[in-house]
């Protein structure tokens, strides 16, 4: 079986062509135009109506209090949503590399440069989130309002007051900075070791990568949960769920896997990564398949337990998404479930589907769009409430972020040989055969 293998050359240099750059710039420009146009429409036309709804929301919900400026809130919420989503995708590149090192995985080496390139986008989202928090923090995070903590104020909230040891601006900022610095710094270590390995070979860099990969995993074990609480859960300040950290991690993880798979597929279509064979593709397909089910498992466990126990302080979360704000979040709620579970589950089920470019692409796009809506349903109700929607602003920001993410990853890919030449497991990966 498969005794005659012709291993293609492992010398491959990705070229970030000016054509590709032009297209990304055009995409970004269209995104920008959509954002500006959409914001103008919101501010002039829909602005009045939105503010009206916003006021209703403030009166009707305990987490309200976004008086005025609701079109601006929608801008901040969109930036935050995309920044959180792309932060997750980027850091999952690092996560994937790290657990592959820890598990002594051999098969993934041949496309390792792709997850390796993804965390390059972290500084961008890090700065964006920092700036957004400074400028739009009050619009996004109810807990940043100081009168909540003042017993004399009519807005005093004893429950939120009880959380101030964790939810306060200085500590939040310290955590935000620690996440990005730690993730980015450890990625630089792994990336440099990997590039150096290309030059000098040997095992020192491999052993060093295992060590730093494990260090990252230990740090990420804690920071993945705390960042999920900070970035997303604290928006609905009253609400809490112990599952939320792992739920967000599951969401980020499968989205990151979908990006890795999509990138591998599109590079192959451009004639790169000839050493990636159908066994690699099938294994990648299995990862996306398995972890989309894992996300569903975590989603369902959280939902079922809250639904079953029916405690008001917990069910409010689903109530708002299901029936609140005129029911506008019901659609994204179900779209998310369909695109993240049912569709990839059915499409990737068969063996051959996982090795077919077109099917992999459809499934991965489904997962990627689905998890956008996953974050959308988690972030939007608590920030923009009734004045949410899906229009030019949303679409424009997705374009902007996606184009810049692709730009950074492509630039990173162009910096080194597409296949890590001297990785000690490379031979295993080149001969990967699971037929």
């Amino acid at each position: 079986m498969a005794s005659v293998h012709s291993i293609p050359s492992i010398e491959e240099q990705f070229e970030f062509t000016s054509d590709a750059k032009r297209r990304l710039l055009i995409g970004g420009a269209i995104g920008l135009v959509l954002v500006i146009g959409g914001a103008f429409l919101l501010a002039s036309g829909g602005g009045h109506e939105a503010a009206h709804h916003g006021a209703e929301h403030a009166a009707g919900s305990h987490d309200g209090g976004h008086e005025g400026g609701s079109w601006m809130t929608r801008i901040w919420a969109n930036i935050w949503l995309n920044a959180v989503y792309f932060t997750g995708i980027s850091v999952v590149g690092m996560f994937f590399m790290s657990y592959n090192y820890l598990a002594q995985a051999g098969w993934s080496v041949v496309f390792k440069r792709i997850p390796e390139a993804m965390p390059a986008f972290l500084p961008v989202t890090g700065v964006i989130m920092l700036v957004t928090f400074f400028l739009g923090g009050h619009d996004l995070f109810h807990w940043t309002h100081s009168d909540l903590y003042d017993p004399a104020s009519e807005h005093f909230d004893p429950i939120i007051n009880g959380k101030k040891g964790f939810l306060n601006t200085p500590f939040f900022l310290i955590r935000l900075v620690i996440y990005f610095v730690a993730w980015y710094f450890l990625w630089r270590v792994l990336r440099n070791a990997s590039l150096q390995e290309d030059e000098i070979g040997g095992l020192d860099n491999y052993n060093k990568s295992v060590k730093y990969g494990v260090t990252f995993l230990v740090i990420f074990a804690v920071t993945s949960s705390t960042s999920a609480w900070d970035f997303v859960m604290s928006i609905d300040t009253h609400w809490f769920s112990t599952m939320f950290g792992w739920y967000t991690l599951a969401s980020w993880h499968v989205a990151g896997l979908a990006v890795i798979t999509l990138t591998v597929v599109s590079l192959r279509e451009k004639g790169y990564l000839k050493a990636v064979n159908s066994s690699h593709l099938r294994d990648l397909g299995k990862f996306v398949f398995a972890f989309s089910i894992f996300w569903t498992y975590v989603w369902f466990a959280q939902f079922l337990l809250i639904y079953y126990a029916n405690l008001p302080e917990e069910t409010i979360y689903y109530k708002e998404r299901f029936a609140g704000f005129g029911g506008i979040y019901k659609a994204p709620f179900f779209i998310s479930l369909f695109l993240n579970f049912f569709f990839p589950f059915l499409v990737l089920m068969t063996r051959d589907a996982k090795a077919t470019h077109s099917i992999l692409k459809v499934a991965c796009w489904s997962v990627l769009i689905g998890h956008y809506f996953d974050f959308y349903t988690n972030i939007m109700p608590g920030t923009v409430g009734a004045s949410g929607g899906f229009g030019p602003v949303e679409f424009g920001f997705i374009l902007l972020f996606a184009c810049s993410f692709i730009w950074f990853v492509s630039a990173q890919l162009a910096k080194a040989n597409l296949i890590p030449k001297n990785h000690p497991m490379l031979e295993e990966s080149l001969h990967h055969d699971i037929a």
Partner: protein
């Protein structure tokens, strides 16, 4: 052509040939029981007899012989149940999930781990029967057509889901284990000296002839069963966790329970596999198959799952404070500082701190330390369930009904019963069935043996032997 990287440590040492594998592993099945085995078996049976007497009395007299009271209505019974089910997770994890991940080190340990799973699930099931009080009515847990009027199982109850989940899990694990045994049973059949053993092993080998066709079916069914078992492994402890998490009892109702219970189950299961394998490898002289590499890999899994459990403990604690729910916060403060503080801190020390010792390569490759920490882990995991169950119940919403739980000799005796049952079954297994999957070890011998004799390997493994870059020990 499959390639094995020179950085990958060998999994079979001592230059074993294919014939050696058969000889080494069939030896104890074909030989007379050793003295050590006889002693161990006798002790197990005595323990089982004592436990059976206690169990008999429990059923004869009723559950009043246990230490339960009106506040603590679940204590050792469900603690033991969850503990055993948890232990029963490692086998199928090793055989199914590690098969899907193509981990070659599973081949030396999967057989014994699967057997352990089956026996552990039996022990767990025995506690379900015990705590029913009237075991002859156990079939009421099944949705059978009946003439009892409104008596019908409550499908809204996670306890009913549990009945389905665990019986499905047991069936699939049993089939998986048995299918894996067939090629080995055929080997023993073909080597059998007596008519009786040829007949018995031959019957169970189901006419296995070792043709390419049968092997192809074997591999196919293994993958299908692995695909089925993987969600099952997760579902069983998920549903066990829902026995608690669906209720509104502070300390029980928390959304992280399902994956956290699964991680804890794998954690304790691997610890139990370690304990059993460390003894087996010495008694049966299988050190060349169950190498330090296997032990180290399992220790890494123990550290990983122990740390996941640790993150879950901290998350629960943090959210109990963060939520601002007084009852939830009190439940956790009471756990850590109340009258059961010792159980809580035993759990924390054993489960979160002790596996961190395995960060030291020296300790995780030390047989003594591994055995010691594995015992500690299983003590810790018992305390985890005790902490969750008893400390959440003993101080309920009404302070006038607060109570403590003290076990009676029947609580203890019924627990001892499960040990007697488990070790009796495991010892029978380890005598009459091959403890290592010969066929699957043979399948990895070419890629993973330390120094395969040239006449067997065919291809010289020059690089692997001349440049053993996996070796991290000082030369």
């Amino acid at each position: 052509m499959h390639v094995t990287s020179p950085v990958r440590p060998p999994l079979i040492t001592g230059g074993k040939t294919y014939a050696d594998v058969t000889e080494d592993i069939c030896r104890q099945v074909e030989g007379k029981p050793t003295k050590q085995w006889m002693i161990a078996f006798t002790i197990s049976v005595i323990v089982l007899i004592y436990g059976t007497a206690c169990l008999f009395w429990t059923w004869w007299e009723g559950l009043g012989v246990w230490g339960l009271n009106k506040t603590v209505g679940w204590a050792w019974d469900i603690t033991n149940f969850v503990w055993w089910v948890g232990i029963g997770h490692a086998g199928t994890l090793i055989s199914a999930i590690l098969l899907l991940f193509r981990q070659k080190w599973r081949t030396s340990i999967n057989r014994a781990a699967e057997a352990m799973t089956i026996f552990a699930v039996l022990c767990a099931a025995s506690f379900i029967l015990m705590h029913m009080g009237r075991p002859w009515l156990a079939y009421w847990a099944l949705p059978l057509p009946n003439a009892f009027g409104s008596l019908w199982v409550n499908f809204n109850s996670p306890l009913v889901w549990d009945v389905f989940a665990i019986s499905t899990y047991f069936s699939v694990s049993l089939v998986f284990w048995y299918i894996g045994l067939i090629p080995d049973l055929a080997t023993i059949r073909d080597r059998a000296q007596s008519k009786v053993s040829r007949f018995i092993y031959g019957t169970f080998a189901m006419g296995w002839n070792g043709s390419a066709k049968t092997w192809s079916r074997y591999e196919y069914i293994s993958l299908i069963l692995a695909g089925l078992s993987t969600p099952l492994v997760l579902s069983v402890h998920t549903i066990v966790s829902m026995d608690f998490a669906t209720s509104v009892i502070p300390g029980w109702h928390t959304t992280i329970f399902p994956p956290y219970f699964v991680a804890g189950a794998i954690f304790s299961g691997f610890a139990m596999v370690q304990n059993l394998m460390l003894i087996t490898r010495v008694v049966y002289r299988l050190e060349d198959y169950i190498t330090l590499e296997h032990i180290e890999s399992m220790n890494k899994v123990i550290t990983l799952t122990g740390s996941i459990v640790g993150v879950a403990y901290l998350t629960e604690f943090f959210i109990a404070w963060y939520s601002g729910v007084e009852y939830e916060s009190y439940a956790f403060i009471n756990r850590a500082t109340g009258p059961y503080w010792w159980a809580y801190w035993a759990m924390m020390t054993c489960n979160v701190i002790s596996p961190q010792l395995f960060w030291s390569r020296k300790l995780r490759r030390s047989v003594t330390w591994t055995f010691f920490i594995s015992v500690i882990v299983n003590i810790g995991m018992w305390f985890e369930r005790f902490v969750i169950i008893v400390t959440s119940l003993h101080r309920d919403y009404l302070p006038s009904s607060w109570a403590m739980f003290s076990p009676t000799r029947y609580d203890i005796g019924d627990y001892i019963f499960s040990f007697g049952l488990f070790f009796t079954l495991f010892l029978l297994f380890s005598k009459y069935l091959p403890v290592i999957n010969m066929a699957e070890v043979k399948a990895v011998i070419k890629s993973s043996s330390e120094k395969l004799p040239q006449k067997v390997s065919g291809v010289a493994k020059a690089q692997r032997i001349s440049n053993p870059s996996f070796n991290k020990d000082p030369q």
